[in-house]
């Protein structure tokens, strides 16, 4: 069997909600062994109880399932000294620890970077915060939508004539988690050379700001705020979303040949005079008007066909049904359907394609404490008796039957595979 890129890397994931769990899942999908820690019984309530309409099919939490694949789930009460001791023991045997508790919490509990790096100097300790572990705003709690708000990302999205719009997706969590995973791997690469671990301080607001392309230069150069440009890109011309007869399409034509092909396809050869890129930007309103006028009388299918025949880029504004049914995505394994031993057939998006490793989603989220025995026996070498005592003292635990999304569906209490 081919080795996975991060095989042999062990990650202790003591994170909550989306941002941290997603970062750790990326490492798990790349082949790392990831141990996700929650509170016994209720687990991570801030995500286990998140679902549209408050429905939880097969005891799954949509909020949790999208950012916790391929992990082992344990439940430790870290408020208890024996719980902290378990974290220390696990951290001693891990390459990476990720946490997103309020800055300073782990330090106060004696399981912060200072203490754990003494036990394990090779440990990479990743603290994932709204605003980071220090600086003017360090004490402020954060959520994705706050990060989208305070950075101005929401303010630059949408139409000037309406209101600022945030993405429905928790992009402040997901993008920041992706960058956190990248940063962790940079630290791991260096550790493999130098033998030294380190402390990483992430701020989700700072990640979003990093991704806001020309916003900050524009403001400082002009002294003006960045407006909302709706569905027309003012800097990349042509790049827009337009209304068709029966849906919406994205259209892009940037290289000269693409732009000329577009002018021809929409029957507006007089716009060819703007082929010079700067002229295109200058006259973008006229160009976008022409495209929108053309698109509104065509069906999405017609537009896609004409784009393909002429040589510019176009795509339907796809919804999850379109994506699910797309042959292109199925063929590329970007839409993966797999059989989860607890939750049965599931479907995940996927973007990590390597020629020398067969990466895939193997399983989804798991019930609270589902993998306690596996992890504590195999990694810490605890005996049956030691485990029994930890359960008895409620230092470790399992799910709460009264909260469905913490528990396995009926008959699946023992369906894990390792």
């Amino acid at each position: 069997m081919k080795k996975l890129p991060l095989e042999g890397v062990r990650v202790l994931d003591v994170t909550r909600i989306i941002y941290g769990p997603w970062a750790a899942t990326l490492l798990a999908l790349l082949g790392a062994e990831v141990i996700h820690v929650e509170m016994p019984k209720s687990g991570d309530t801030l995500i286990r109880l998140v679902s549209p309409g408050g429905v939880f099919p097969r005891n799954l939490s949509p909020g949790m399932m999208c950012c916790n694949a391929n992990k082992y789930f344990v439940a430790i009460d870290m408020r208890r000294e024996e719980g902290k001791e378990l974290i220390r023991k696990l951290a001693a045997r891990c390459d990476v620890l990720m946490e997103n508790f309020k800055p300073g919490t782990f330090d106060r509990w004696g399981i912060g970077y200072r203490q754990l790096s003494e036990i394990n100097p090779k440990l990479i300790y990743v603290s994932m915060q709204g605003f980071g572990n220090w600086g003017e705003l360090w004490e402020r709690p954060s959520y994705d939508a706050y990060a989208q708000g305070i950075t101005g990302l929401a303010e630059i999205t949408g139409f000037e004539e309406a209101i600022p719009v945030k993405s429905q997706a928790w992009i402040g969590d997901f993008l920041s988690g992706t960058i956190a995973a990248f940063t962790t791997l940079a630290a791991l690469y260096w550790r493999n050379k130098s033998g030294k671990g380190q402390f990483i301080d992430m701020s989700q607001a700072e990640v979003l700001m990093r991704a806001m392309d020309w916003t900050w230069l524009y403001i400082s150069l002009t002294g003006e705020n960045r407006k909302r440009y709706g569905n027309r890109d003012p800097a990349v011309v042509v790049s827009c979303i337009a209304r068709a007869k029966d849906g919406f399409v994205a259209i892009a034509a940037v290289r000269d040949d693409e732009y000329l092909a577009l002018c021809k396809a929409i029957g507006r050869e007089e716009l060819e005079k703007f082929v010079n890129y700067e002229k295109r930007v200058e006259n973008s309103e006229e160009i976008y008007n022409a495209i929108e006028d053309w698109a509104k009388n065509k069906s999405v299918e017609e537009i896609l066909r004409e784009a393909e025949e002429s040589g510019f880029a176009a795509s339907r504004v796809m919804n999850s049904k379109n994506i699910y049914e797309s042959e292109h995505y199925r063929k590329r394994n970007a839409v993966q359907i797999f059989f989860d031993p607890i939750y049965e057939e599931l479907c995940y998006p996927f973007a990590l394609h390597f020629s020398n490793a067969d990466l895939k989603v193997l399983w989804s989220m798991r019930p609270v404490g589902f993998d306690n025995e596996h992890v504590f026996r195999r990694i810490l070498g605890l005996s049956e008796e030691e485990l029994r005592l930890l359960y008895e003292k409620e230092v470790i635990g399992k799910w709460d039957e009264s909260i469905p999304t913490t528990a396995p569906p009926e008959g699946k209490e023992d369906k894990a595979f390792y």
């Binding site: 890129p5 991060l6 790349l30 309530t45 998140v50 549209p52 949509p62 300073g104 603290s127 572990n133 220090w134 003017e136 402020r140 959520y143 708000g149 305070i150 990302l153 303010e155 139409f159 004539e161 600022p164 719009v165 993405s167 993008l175 960058i179 940063t183 940079a186 630290a187 791991l188 260096w190 380190q198 402390f199 301080d201 990640v207 700001m209 991704a211 020309w214 916003t215 230069l217 400082s220 002009t222 960045r226 709706g230 990349v236 919406f248 892009a252 693409e258 504004v317 919804n319 999850s320 049904k321 994506i323 995505y329 970007a334 359907i337 057939e345 973007a351 394609h353 390597f354 490793a357």
Partner: protein, 427 residues
């Protein structure tokens, strides 16, 4: 010493220049064209200390021209200036045989190769994976394109296509039936920034590092086939998972969160605030703060609160309180709450207000530089590391600025040979 002081001491960007770099010794060739997915991927690697060599055609990458109002700093578009960081810039005409010959010699001496061309084009000029693998079997080859490394697509890699193909634009925007807003604004909406490109670049850089770590162990290069559309699709919450589970398509919901309430924006006296308090105890905390315990009784469960019919009525009730206060006052009210439950309030700002916090500058997330006779603000780095901090070393090199430096260093070309190549239109 308090933890936050210690954290500052060990990660203060002021000390970065004295510290080592994580990716020192890694050479990256980036020939991306017209795509900020490629440029962001190589920026992330360059910030970490990789030696990134940008290869542009002699007339420069069209991405240099992407700029609102055609604004320029140091003769380049604003966006390119940001992602030019720490990169060496050379020119090479890959459409000439001699150009590809030189290119192959550079590839032999490199660890990572990034491009954003359609596969057919890469094959036609001989820079496809099969060809380059023969020259350098240890090479990590990263192809970035919205449609992936697939035949039959001739166009470039564009952000808006990724935003559309990922399902992201579909779930963003104001719903059709919110008639208080003009009709043309109640549509699927692309993110204001190039989120498709930035997501694609982040995934590419992540994949490249995983491949580098793996290569150190097994001695083998590989090919990474990265689609920014698929990357952004992975960041679109549970939309696809949920469709498969229930057959229901998640629709756009403006600034409401379909899976939790309160978790949205509210009007204040002077703008908008974000407020979260969505599990039962946290909802109760929110209602306590605004003195409206009656709302706990009226909307007691998650089911009641995630019912779209209740979103606007609940919001109007909460706004009766928030509209009496400024954003600043609301923040203070929320921060001073010491009762049961966790609820968060935060301001929604215009970017021109965002830049006023000292926070970003002391942490190096934003940096100030001189240019155009002004103090300009540009992104620094968004991660702090205690031992190998990423950093910005330089910005804004011109097309071909590093030709003589790089060609001499890598290929031992002298001035005469360079002059000849220039005449032949190769560099």
């Amino acid at each position: 010493m308090e933890w936050n002081e210690i954290a500052k001491r060990i990660t203060d960007p002021k000390d970065s220049p004295q510290k080592p770099e994580a990716l020192e010794g890694v050479r990256v060739i980036d020939v991306s064209y017209g795509s900020f997915a490629g440029l962001f991927a190589s920026s992330l690697l360059a910030e970490m200390g990789a030696e990134v060599i940008r290869i542009e055609p002699p007339e420069g990458d069209i991405a240099r021209k992407y700029s609102p109002e055609n604004l320029k700093v140091f003769d380049q578009g604003l966006a390119y200036f940001v992602e030019s960081r720490n990169k060496y810039h050379i020119t090479l005409n890959l459409e000439k045989e001699k150009g590809v010959e030189i290119f192959e010699k550079i590839v032999e001496k490199s660890d990572v190769f990034i491009h954003t061309f359609p596969r057919d084009y890469a094959e036609r000029i001989g820079i496809d994976y099969e060809s380059l693998k023969k020259i350098n079997p240890m090479l990590i080859y990263c192809s970035i394109h919205t449609h992936g490394y697939e035949k039959g697509f001739n166009f470039g890699d564009y952000d808006v296509i990724a935003q559309a193909m990922s399902g992201f634009a579909y779930t963003t925007g104001i719903p059709e039936d919110y008639e208080e807003f003009p009709e043309h604004t109640r549509v699927p909406t692309k993110m204001g920034n190039w989120m498709g490109w930035y997501a694609g670049g982040a995934f590419a850089a992540l994949s490249i590092l995983a491949a580098l770590i793996s290569r150190d162990r097994n001695g083998e290069g590989c090919m990474i086939d990265l689609s920014p559309a698929e990357a952004l699709m992975c960041l679109n919450n549970y939309a696809l998972h949920f469709y498969h589970l229930t057959g229901k398509v998640i629709e756009r919901s403006g600034n409401f969160e379909p899976a939790a309430y309160a978790y949205n924006y509210f009007r204040a006296k002077d703008g908008m605030v974000f407020i979260a308090g969505y599990t039962d105890p946290n909802w109760k905390a929110l209602c306590t703060i605004i003195g409206r315990e009656d709302l706990v009784e009226k909307y007691p469960t998650i089911k009641d609160r995630t019912n779209p019919k209740n979103w606007i009525p609940m919001t109007r009730e909460i706004e009766k309180f928030t509209m009496q206060h400024t954003r600043k006052e609301l923040l203070e009210i929320w921060l001073s709450y010491k009762g049961e439950g966790v609820t968060v309030a935060g301001e929604v700002l215009k970017p021109i207000e965002t830049v006023e916090f000292e926070h970003w500058y002391e942490r190096g997330a934003l940096i100030k530089i001189r240019g155009d006779g002004k103090e300009l603000i540009v992104q620094g780095v968004c991660q702090k590391m205690s031992e190998t901090p990423p950093r910005v070393k330089w910005l804004g090199r011109k097309v071909g600025e590093d030709n003589s430096l790089i060609y001499r260093k890598l290929l031992g070309l002298d001035d005469k040979e360079m002059e000849r190549l220039k005449k032949e239109g190769v560099i």
